[in-house]
């Protein structure tokens, strides 16, 4: 029997955007307040899991055509790449640098290479969590 779950679908459509906004906030707030790549990645993964719970797995795969194993690989590559990027400038592995920039709408902001490292962590967490959950949900493996 096809159970009518229009309330859940309608609400999830709004709530996913709130969760993704919070994830991006947590990611960017990580340097000066609680948050960071790990938490941001987990919150993004929870938004995706909410979509998977509410809609069909094929439908979500059509909407988010991302191979999460590749996302995890890209994250690890990015995190290691920021480490080797500092070697290219003649300093030790994983040395981080930061500089103040003037961004038109946001004003004076400090941009650091730590953010790229954290982006790698976030992508790795999203990829690993989603790979685990989707492969358990599918059951027969691929």
């Amino acid at each position: 029997m096809r159970i009518n779950d229009v309330i859940l679908r309608t609400v999830v459509r709004f709530v996913v955007f709130i969760i993704l906004t919070l994830a991006i906030y947590l990611f960017f707030a990580g340097h000066y307040s609680p948050g960071g790549g790990f938490i941001g990645g987990l919150v993004i993964a929870s938004a995706f899991v909410l979509l998977y719970v509410t809609f069909d797995i094929e439908k979500v795969k059509k909407g988010i055509p991302v191979d999460f194993k590749k996302v995890a690989a890209l994250g690890v590559f990015l995190a290691v790449g920021t480490g080797f990027g500092s070697v290219l400038f003649g300093v030790d592995f994983l040395t981080q640098a930061a500089k103040k920039f003037h961004i038109p709408l946001l004003g004076e902001k400090e941009l650091g290479t730590v953010m790229l490292f954290e982006l790698g962590v976030a992508l790795t967490v999203v990829g690993v969590v989603m790979t685990i959950i989707v492969s358990i949900a599918e059951g027969d493996g691929d």
Binding site: M1, I7, L8, V15, I18
Partner: protein, 119 residues
Amino acid sequence: MTILINSVIILSLLLGTFFIVMTAVGLVRFPDAYTRAHAASKSATLGVLFILIGVFIYFWQIEGTYNSRIILGIVFIFITGPIGGHIMARAAYFSGVKPTERTVRDDLKEEYERKKRSL
């Protein structure tokens, strides 16, 4: 002014705590799953809402930081709290949990039987 703000904060926190205690009392005293879902989803949502409003006013007026995450949390709880109660009550109904004997009418039953027959 400070006295007024403090009393608003105290009133809000007290109301929130009152509603949450009422939720606990309802969960213990109500007879079946549906009335308990009613108590848990409505009253707990309102209780958490009042407590978050009190916390927001405290940080805004006393500490001087405008914390928009609390506003987002209020909106989020307000949207998702009742939905959680709804989904749990539906899951209980479809898995065959009987309502209490004092129930006088069951509107969902005919529809559920009709859907099951038409399958």
